[in-house]
Amino acid sequence: MDPKAHSAAFDIPEPLLAEGETYATITDKISGDVLQTKTPRGMLITLLVSFFLVLVLIGSISYLFVKGVGIWGINNPVGWGFAIVNLVWWIGIGHAGTLISAILLLLHQHWRNAINRFAEAMTLFAVCCAGMFPILHLGRPWLAFWLAPYPNTMSLWPNFRSPLVWDVFAISTYLFVSFMFWYVGLIPDLASMRDRAAKRWQKVSFGVLAMGWRGSAHHWHRYEMAYLLLAGLATPLVVSVHSIVSFDFAVGLLPGWHVTVFPPYFVAGAIYSGFAMVLTLIIPARKLYHLEAYITNRHLDYMAKVMLATGMIVLYGYAMELFFAYYSGSPYERFMILNRITGPYGWSYFMLILCNGVIPQFLWFKKFRLHILSLFLVSIVINIGMWLERFVIVITSLHRDFLPSSWDMYYPTVWDWGTFIGSIGIFVWLMFLFIRVMPMISIFELKHLLPWKGRVFDSSADAN
C-alpha cells in the first residue's frame, strides 16, 4: 500500500507509521524495549503503585473468605452489588482485544497491527479480573465448581436454564480463545526475541515459549492458517460473550433488567469501554516507550471513531429503555425509570448520561480526537461512565422493585471499594509487567505497515 494512497483514501495527515522506519528499526526498537536492562522510572512507579493495590485486593479477599459476603453492602432487596457491576465492567473492557484482533483482521484493517497485541493482552487480564468476581460474590465460594457439569456423587447436573451457568461457559471459552489468539500471535516475535536475547536465561525462556519457531515458509503458512482460523473462531465470541452476560439481567423479571435490547446494547457498550480502556493504557504507554512512531495519532484517531460509533449505539440503548418504560404501560417499568432519574440514585444516572452520552460527543471533532490529552481524559470519562451504567442497571433496578415494603438502599462498604480498586490494581500491574517482558507491539505484523520503500532487506535484521 502506498502511504499517499492512504492519506488520499482516509484524508489523514498522519501516516500509520512514521517516515524512515525499516524492518531493522522496528525490530530493534520493540525488542530492545524488552531486552534492555534498565526499566523506565515511570514504569517502576506504576508497577509499585499497582502492586500496592494488588495487596489491597488480597487483603479484601482474605477478609471476605473469613467473614462472608456480609462484609459488603449488599442486602435483601439488593442482592448484587459491586461484585457484579465490576464483573460486567471488566468483561466489557475485555472486548476490545478480540474485536481488534479478530474482526479487524478479517476486515483487513491493517492499522490494527500496531495495537492488537496490546489490546489482546489487555483482554486477557481484563477477563481474568472479570472471572474473579463471580466466584468472589458467591456465599460459599469454595463450592464454585458446582456450577460446572462434572460427574459427581450427587448425580446432579447444574441447572442449564440459569444464565449463570451460561456465563461459566461463555467466560471460560472467551478466556481460552483470547489466550490462544494472543499466544499464537506472539510466537514469531518470541522467536525474534530469542534470537536477539543476549543472556542465556533469556534465550532459553524465550526459546521455550517460541516453540521452535524458525520462520520457515512452512511455519509461516501454518501460522497464517492457524491465526485466521482462530480469528474466525473468536469473532462470534465478541458478540456472544457479552450477550450472555446481558442475559444475567435480561432473563430476570425485574423492571430495568427484563429488556430485549440488552444483548446488542451490552455488546456495543463493551466495545465502547474496551476501546476506551485501550486508549487509557496505550497513550501513557507509548509516551513511556516513545512509540509515537508506531502507534501514531492516526491509530488513536481510528479508535476514537470506533468509540464514537459504539457510544452512539449505547446512547440509543438508553433511549430505548426510556421508550420501553413509557410504551410498555407497565407501572413497574415506568416507576423504575422515574426512580432511576429522580430517586436517591438519580445522581448516578445523570453522571452516566454525562460520561457516556454528552462528553464523548466532542469526538465528532477531528481537532479534539487528535488532541492526545483530551482524548486520554475522554477515554477515562467513558470508563467511569460504563462502570456507572452497570451500577445503575444493577442497583437502581434492585433497590426498588415490586413491593414497596421491601425497598431499601445499598451502601458500598470499604470492602466493596477495596475489591474494586484492587482489581484495577492487579489489571494495571499485569499489564505493565507484560509490557516489560513481552513485545507489546506485534513486530512482524507492524512490518506489514511499512511503506514499500521501507521494505529493504537489511542483514542486521532477522529473516522474519
Partner: protein, 981 residues
C-alpha cells in the same frame, strides 16, 4: 393496562409521603460510607476465639478447594441404659402446661424432642389460648435456653451457695419469730397460683405481722378501681367480641399485646370473617393516641390525647343519655365523631360494647361501666366475675406503702420473688435507694437484673418450663404447670421451693409442694385420676369463675375531670414486643418488628408527622424529653396517625441487666414515670438535641405507590356484587404462556391469608422463627436490611398522613407455580416438587443470591454472615431437629413447614391413606389467633383452604406477573359508618 395499578394516581400525596417515610438519603449515605467497618454478624458475636480461628481454617480450606476431601468426623451414638417406654427416639411428644404473663396463665402444648422442649403451641381447651398463641408465648421457649440466665447464687455480688443462704435466712427468720415477722416483707408480681397463694397464706399464719405486696408494672389497678367506683366492689370485666356488632375502644389495644389478646383476637375476627352469602361485619371504633394493632383494624380511628379520653367518655355518655353525664365540647370534628358513634351504639343496643384500656384513669373505666350498663350490654357483650387473683388490690399503693416502710427502716427481711422493682417501679418510689436500708434483701429471678445487683442475696429462679407450678387464667381457669425438662442449671429453684424454705419446710421439691396443695382431702386413688386428667388436659375442670351480677352504684355526674392539660403530653405504654422489660433479653422479641412502627431493637419517642414538622425532627434525631426536673434522651421515630400533641414512649428498654441481648439499649421510660401520672404525663418539654441515633426499622417505605397490594373493599360494595372483585387487576390466562400447563395430581399445597382477619400481631413471625431455627441477626444487620424472618408482616399507610388507614399484610413465600427464582439458580438448589412446593435445598446452595433478586416478593433470606449460633450450647438444645440449621452463604425461605408435611405424609403412607385436611398445620397457621392463615391441599375441593380460596375476595399478589402463587390473599373489608363519610 388496567387502571387499578396506575402509579399516576394521587402522586402529589406520594411525593409528600416519601419525604417523611424515608430517611434523608444523602445524609444516610454519607453516614454509612464513613462507617469504617461493616458490622459483625450480630450482637451475639463472641469475642475473637477458637471460633474465629475455625472460620479462618474453613476459609483456607475453601481457598484450597479441599473441603470436599475432608473426611466426615466419626459420630457416636449413646443409647439409653434403660429405655423409657413412652419415648420413641425421633418422635416428638407434646405436654400441656401454661405460660404465665403478668401473673395470668395461657394454656400451651409444648413439643419435646428427646426431652428437649423445642416448640410451643396453644392449648385448644384453654379459654385464653383457644389453640392459638401470641408472640410472647411463642418466644418464651427462647427465654428457657437464654444463655444469660442466672446460674449462681450471689451474696453481695459474690458467688455463694444455697446452704449459706439458708443459714442466713434461718437466722433472720429466728429473729423475726418472736416479733411475729413484723420486719418480714414479701414482694411478688401478680400471683394467681393457688399453690403459691396457699404457701404465702401459711407464711402469714407463721408470721402474723408479716406483709405480702404484689406489684406488676403493667397491672389491672385502674380496671379494679374503676369497677370499685362503679359497682362498689372489685370485679373483672370479660368482653365478648363475638357478640358485639359495634365496638368502641377507648385507648384499649385489646387485639395487640395484652393479657387476653389471643381470645379477643379470635372472638373479634369471628365477626370480621364472612360466614353467610353476605358480609355482616361488626364495626370497630377506636380512639387512641398511638396507632396500635387495634387501631389498625378500626373502621373509624380517632386520634385523641390520652388525657382527653375521659372527656370523650363523658360526652359520649351524655349523648347516649346516661343520667348525670356532662357533655364536654371537644371541637367540631370530634363532637361529630362522638355523635355518630353514640348513634351507632344506641342503634345496636345490647349488641354494642365499649371498653377502655387498662392505662386509662379510673374515671374513664367508671364511665365505660356506666355506659355498658346503660346500653344493657351486661350479660351479652360484657360479663363480670371476681378477679382471678385470690387477693386483688391496688398494687401501686401496696408497693408505695412497702417503700415507705423500707424508708422508715421497718423492714428487716425483704423477699422479692420474681420481680424487678429496682427497674420497673415508678421513679418517685425511689426503690433502689430505699432497698439499701433493708438489712437482708433477697431477690429470686431468672436473670441477674437491676434488683439482683443491689440486693444482699440473689437466687437463680428456674424457668416455668423447668418447674412444677400452677396458675389461673383471667377467667379463673386453673392449669397445673408441669416441667418439660429438668432444670438446665442445678442451682435454680422455683418460687414454691424458696417459699417452702421460708416456711421452715426445708428441701421439698416443687412437685411434692404442688401435689400436696391439690391433693387436699382427696383419697390417693381418685386423686391420681384427677391429677392425670389435669395434666393431660392442661386445665383443671370447673375452675372458671362464675359470672357475677353487678349493680351500678355511681353517679357519673360526680366524676370530676383533671384540668385541661396544656402543651404536649408524654404517654407511656407497655412495649408491643418487650412488654414491661421482662422480655428484654429475648433476641426473637427484640428483633421482632413492632406492629405499626416496624421498629426493632429499640424504643423511641414516637411523634406524629405534624409534630415532627413543627419541631423540625426526623427519624433518629435525638431529643430530650423533660418532665419537671427529670429528663431522658431518646431518638425520634415518626409514626403517621399519632396524636399531634403527644409523644409516646414505650416501657421495657434501657435495661441494665447482665445480658448480651437486652442490655443498655433504648431509653428507660420508668425514669419519668411518677404517681399519679403513671401512663400519661402532661407538661412535657421536648427539645431537639444534636446528634443522630440509628433506629433499625424493617420497612423504609410505607406507601403502596398505587399498586394493588393490599386490596381493600367496602362491605357494601362486596355485598352488592362480590364477583366484581374478581375482575380487579390483570390475571394472565393459561394461554399467556408458551409452556404446557403442569398438572398437579395428588396433593397440591396452598395457603390463603385473610387480610380481614389478620391484625398484624406478629404471632406467626415468632412461631415461624421457633419452628424453623431462624437465627437473629442483631440490630446492625437489621439496619443493613438483612433480617431473616421467613414470614414478615408488611405495613402500609393509605390516605392523609396525619390520619391514615393502616393495613397489615403477612408475606411468606408465595410458592409460585411458575417461580422466577427456580429458573435462575445455577445449581438447582431451589426447585419445584410434585406437590407444588418451591423447595430450597440449603446444602446445594452456593449463594449467588440470583433467586432473591428475581423474587418479586423478596421473601428469600440470605445468610450474609454466620448468623446461626454455633457456639452456645443452650441454643443447640433449642433447635428443631427436623429442620436443617443454615450456615453462612446459604439462601433460605419459607418452606410451608415442609418438615410437618413430610411427617404427615410418612404417617399417611404407612397407613396407605391420603393426608387428611388439617393434618398438616404450618407453624404460622397454628399460632394465628384470628385464624387468618389457612393451609392445606387445594386439590381437595372440600379442604378449608379450597373453600377460603373460593371466596370472591381471593386474589394473588402481583398476579399480573403470572407467577401463579400458591399463597393468595382475601381482600380486606371495611364497614364504615356512612354518617362519618
Amino acid at each position: 393496562m388496567n387502571e387499578s395499578v396506575n402509579p399516576s394516581e394521587n402522586s402529589l400525596e406520594k411525593r409528600h409521603w416519601r419525604s417523611l417515610s424515608e430517611y434523608d438519603d444523602s445524609a444516610e449515605l454519607r453516614e454509612r460510607l464513613h462507617r469504617e467497618f461493616p458490622v459483625d454478624a450480630s450482637t451475639w458475636d463472641n469475642p475473637v476465639s477458637r471460633r474465629e480461628f475455625l472460620r479462618l481454617m474453613g476459609a483456607s480450606f475453601a481457598l484450597a478447594g479441599l473441603n470436599s476431601c475432608v473426611k466426615q468426623p466419626d459420630e457416636t451414638i449413646l443409647p439409653y441404659t434403660k429405655q423409657p417406654e413412652y419415648l420413641v427416639p425421633g418422635k416428638p411428644l407434646a405436654y400441656a402446661t401454661a405460660f404465665v404473663m403478668g401473673g395470668f396463665a395461657r394454656g400451651i402444648l409444648v413439643t419435646s424432642h428427646m426431652g428437649r422442649p423445642t416448640k410451643i403451641e396453644g392449648n385448644p381447651d384453654h379459654p385464653s389460648s383457644l389453640g392459638s398463641t401470641d408472640a410472647f408465648t411463642q418466644a418464651s421457649i427462647l427465654s428457657l435456653y437464654d444463655p444469660d440466665r442466672s446460674q449462681v447464687i450471689l451474696r453481695k455480688g459474690e458467688i455463694s451457695t444455697w446452704s449459706r443462704f439458708l443459714e442466713t435466712l434461718e437466722r433472720a427468720l429466728d429473729a423475726q419469730q418472736p416479733i411475729g415477722g413484723a420486719g418480714l416483707r414479701v414482694l411478688t408480681g401478680t400471683v394467681t397460683s393457688p399453690t403459691l397463694v396457699g404457701q404465702l397464706r401459711a407464711l402469714m399464719q407463721r408470721f402474723p405481722k408479716a406483709r405480702w405486696s404484689g406489684y406488676e408494672p403493667v397491672n389491672l389497678d385502674n380496671l379494679y378501681e374503676g369497677a370499685r367506683l362503679a359497682f362498689g366492689e372489685i370485679v373483672h370485666s370479660h368482653y365478648h367480641f363475638d357478640k358485639a356488632d359495634v365496638v368502641l375502644s377507648l385507648d384499649a389495644d385489646f387485639l395487640g399485646a395484652g393479657l387476653d389478646s389471643t381470645r379477643h383476637a379470635r372472638e373479634f375476627s369471628s365477626r370480621r370473617t364472612i360466614t353467610g352469602p353476605k358480609a355482616a361485619l361488626s364495626r370497630l371504633y377506636v380512639a387512641e393516641t398511638m396507632p396500635s394493632v387495634t387501631g389498625s383494624m378500626a373502621d373509624h380511628r380517632l386520634k385523641i390525647r390520652s388525657s382527653q379520653v375521659v372527656r370523650l367518655a363523658s360526652s359520649l355518655a351524655a349523648r347516649l343519655g346516661v343520667p348525670g353525664a356532662r357533655t364536654v365540647p371537644l371541637g367540631d370534628s370530634m363532637d361529630r365523631w362522638i355523635g355518630a358513634v353514640a348513634e351507632d351504639l344506641r342503634r345496636m343496643g345490647r349488641g354494642s360494647l365499649v371498653l377502655a384500656g387498662s392505662e386509662q384513669p379510673v374515671s374513664v373505666h367508671a364511665f365505660v361501666h356506666a355506659i355498658n350498663m346503660f346500653l344493657g350490654n351486661s350479660g351479652t357483650t360484657v360479663s363480670y366475675t371476681d378477679p382471678a387473683e385470690p387477693e386483688p388490690g391496688n398494687q401501686m399503693t401496696s408497693l408505695a406503702s412497702l417503700a415507705g416502710e423500707m424508708d422508715a427502716g421497718r423492714v428487716d427481711v425483704l423477699l422479692m420473688l420474681g420481680t424487678n422493682p429496682a427497674y420497673d417501679a415508678p421513679a418517685d418510689i425511689r426503690f433502689s435507694e430505699r432497698l439499701a436500708k433493708v438489712p437482708l434483701s433477697v431477690h429470686l429471678g431468672t436473670h441477674v437484673d437491676e434488683t439482683a445487683g443491689i440486693s444482699t442475696w440473689h437466687l437463680p429462679a428456674s424457668h416455668t418450663l423447668e418447674s412444677w407450678s400452677d396458675a389461673r387464667a383471667l377467667d379463673g381457669t386453673t392449669t397445673i404447670m408441669q416441667p418439660l425438662i429438668a432444670p438446665l442449671y442445678s442451682t435454680t429453684r422455683s418460687v414454691h421451693e424458696v417459699v417452702e424454705e421460708v416456711l421452715g419446710r426445708s428441701g421439698r421439691k416443687g412437685h411434692d409442694i404442688v401435689v400436696d396443695h391439690w391433693r387436699g382431702g382427696r383419697s390417693s386413688k381418685d386423686f391420681d385420676g384427677f391429677w392425670e386428667r389435669c395434666l393431660h388436659d392442661g386445665v383443671v375442670a370447673g375452675t372458671s369463675l362464675p359470672v357475677k351480677q353487678v349493680k351500678l352504684r355511681l353517679d357519673v355526674g360526680a366524676l370530676e375531670f383533671p384540668a385541661v392539660p396544656s402543651g404536649m403530653e408524654l404517654v407511656f405504654r407497655p412495649d408491643p414486643t418487650i412488654w414491661d422489660g421482662s422480655f428484654a433479653n429475648n433476641g426473637w422479641l427484640q428483633e421482632l418488628p413492632k406492629p405499626v412502627t416496624k421498629l426493632t431493637w429499640d424504643n423511641a419517642a414516637m411523634v406524629s408527622p405534624a409534630a415532627a414538622a413543627r419541631l423540625s425532627l426526623s427519624n433518629g434525631n435525638l431529643v430530650e424529653l423533660r418532665l419537671g426536673q427529670d429528663a431522658v434522651t431518646a431518638p425520634v421515630w415518626i409514626v403517621p396517625g399519632h396524636e399531634d400533641d403527644s409523644v409516646t414512649l414505650h416501657l421495657g428498654y434501657g435495661r441494665a441487666l447482665k445480658g448480651r441481648v437486652g442490655n443498655g439499649i433504648g431509653t428507660n421510660a420508668n425514669l419519668l414515670r411518677k404517681r399519679p401520672a403513671l401512663w400519661n404525663a402532661t407538661g412535657l418539654e421536648i427539645r431537639k438535641l444534636s446528634g443522630h441515633y440509628d433506629l433499625a426499622g424493617t420497612q423504609d417505605h410505607s406507601l403502596m405507590e398505587g399498586r394493588d397490594i393490599v386490596r381493600v373493599v367496602a362491605q357494601s360494595e362486596y355485598n352488592e356484587n362480590p364477583e366484581s372483585l374478581k375482575k380487579r387487576g390483570h390475571v394472565p390466562g393459561p394461554e399467556e404462556t408458551l409452556y404446557p400447563p403442569y398438572v398437579y395430581d395428588g396433593n397440591a399445597w396452598g395457603m390463603s391469608i385473610d387480610l380481614n382477619a389478620c391484625t398484624g400481631c406478629n404471632a406467626c413471625v415468632i412461631a415461624c422463627q421457633a419452628e424453623n431455627n431462624i437465627p437473629i441477626v442483631g440490630k446492625m444487620e437489621v439496619l443493613n436490611a438483612r433480617e431473616m424472618h421467613w414470614i414478615r408482616v408488611d405495613r402500609y399507610f393509605e390516605g392523609d398522613p396525619d390520619d391514615p388507614a393502616i393495613y397489615s399484610q403477612p408475606v411468606p413465600c408465595m410458592h409460585c407455580e411458575t417461580a422466577p427464582c427456580e429458573v435462575v439458580c445455577p445449581v438447582a438448589a431451589t426447585t419445584h416438587d410434585h406437590e407444588g412446593l418451591n423447595v430450597m435445598t440449603y446444602n446445594r446452595c452456593v449463594g449467588t443470591r440470583y433467586c432473591s433478586n428475581n423474587c418479586p416478593y423478596k421473601v428469600r433470606r440470605f445468610n450474609f454472615l454466620q448468623y446461626s449460633e454455633t457456639e452456645i450450647e443452650q441454643t443447640k438444645l433449642m433447635r428443631n431437629p427436623d429442620v436443617t440449621v443454615r450456615n453462612r452463604g446459604v439462601m433460605e425461605k419459607c418452606t410451608y413447614c415442609v418438615q410437618r408435611i413430610s411427617g404427615a405424609r410418612i404417617e399417611a403412607k404407612k397407613e396407605n391413606r391420603e393426608i387428611r385436611d388439617g393434618e398438616v398445620v404450618t407453624a404460622c397457621e397454628s399460632a394465628c389467633p384470628s385464624h387468618a392463615i389457612v393451609f392445606g391441599n387445594i386439590n381437595d375441593k372440600a379442604s378449608r383452604v379450597s373453600l377460603a380460596k373460593a371466596d370472591a375476595r381471593n386474589y394473588a399478589l402481583l398476579a399480573e406477573l403470572n407467577t401463579k402463587p400458591r399463597t393468595t390473599y382475601r381482600a380486606r373489608l371495611t364497614n364504615r359508618n356512612p354518617e362519618l363519610e
